[in-house]
């Protein structure tokens, strides 16, 4: 029996690795550039790799580099990091409904690996997400992020400009690739995505709030509005049936 459980976990792990490959590809140019910028900001290769190992959150790591360059204090850099990454709270809360029951220790470990990208891959998977699957997705993503951050610092150059730019589309293409199959199946998903996109565009381009808050607010607003609309629709339908 335990053999069976182990082989199921390992096949889930393999599925996770396969699903994580797009993230691995997408992180490659971003991590490489991060390593390069970290070098020009005066971080040593150890500090660069340590940051990718411990923080594992692209946007905030980039921001910290520009703040270091401005000579911003440590406390403000940490506070900014917190604000930029607060959106993961919402993602973890949503994902918590989808993962299978497991030991606290496993949850403590894999929760470290929740990024915009790992969240998107796991959340759009059909059915529940096994722990092995989460570990698979996260291990590819994390390795790519850490290794290529170090490599970027080491070689001290980014990719040729045209390749760098065209690879910049990778993560967005992945998000679209994850979203479209669900859009084809459900009108609700179409409305959710469009509303999320519109609110976030208004918030970020209108400079109403910092980027971290814009995504959280846009997501929550859209999710609540659509859910409320659905509840009202259901209620009306049942009222009609009673007539």
């Amino acid at each position: 029996m335990s053999d069976l459980a182990i082989s199921r976990e390992s096949s889930e792990y393999k599925k996770g690795i396969q699903a994580g490959i797009s993230i691995g590809i997408g992180y490659f140019p971003i991590a490489l550039t991060f390593g390069l910028l970290a070098k020009t900001s005066g971080l040593s290769i150890y500090e660069t790799v340590l940051m990718s190992l411990i923080v594992f959150a692209g946007a905030s790591q980039y921001i910290s580099l520009s703040l270091i360059a401005y000579g911003t204090g440590i406390f403000e850099i940490i506070l900014t990091t917190f604000i930029v990454n607060i959106r993961h709270f919402l993602m973890s809360t949503s994902l918590n409904e989808k993962v299978e029951e497991d030991h606290l220790l496993n949850k403590l470990i894999y929760s470290f690996g929740i990024t915009d990208e790992t969240f998107s891959v796991v959340a759009t998977k059909e059915g529940t997400a096994a722990t092995g699957y989460l570990f698979g997705v996260i291990s590819v993503s994390y390795s790519s992020w850490v290794v290529f951050s170090g490599l970027g610092h080491l070689i001290g150059a980014s990719l040729p400009k045209t390749l760098q730019e065209s690879m910049g589309v990778a993560l967005y293409a992945m998000f679209i690739g994850l979203l479209v199959p669900s859009m084809k199946k459900s009108v609700k998903v179409v409305f959710l995505a469009i509303l999320g996109a519109i609110f976030n565009s208004i918030f970020t381009m209108g400079h109403f709030m910092a980027q971290g808050w814009a995504i959280v607010t846009a997501t929550l607003l859209s999710a609540i509005i659509i859910e409320t609309a659905e509840v009202i629709k259901m209620r009306n339908r049942s009222v009609h049936h009673e007539d």
């Binding site: 411990i54 440590i74 918590n96 679209i176 479209v180 519109i198 995504i215």
Partner: protein, 102 residues
């Protein structure tokens, strides 16, 4: 390594880890009111919309059409039912070709 930088990295790591970890430890899941559960199920799709727009339009700062083309390529390949990796590689290929021709 400079001690100051190491402390900064540790602090950044801590404030990033806490919001990621708290929901898994604090909430049991599947026990929240149905409305909240519904909202949480909606979150991934609204997030994806917000993660894609408007950022994809600015992947190349001088040329907004670059992002539009990348988004269109990804959407078409995905709509035809291709695997996510094919969507990623396909849009990279389309944009490489576009840069090459321009």
């Amino acid at each position: 390594m400079k001690t100051e930088i190491v402390w900064m990295i540790l602090g950044m790591g801590l404030v990033t880890y806490i919001p990621r970890m708290i929901p898994f430890v604090l909430f049991k899941g599947k026990e929240l009111p149905p409305f909240i559960q519904g909202v949480l199920k909606n979150v991934p799709y609204a997030t994806l919309g917000a993660l894609i727009f408007p950022a994809i339009l600015f992947i190349q700062k001088e040329d907004i059409w670059y992002g539009v083309l990348g988004a269109a390529a990804a959407f078409i390949v995905a709509f035809l039912g291709a695997n996510v990796i094919v969507v990623v590689l396909g849009s990279i290929a389309v944009l490489s070709l576009y840069s090459y021709l321009m």
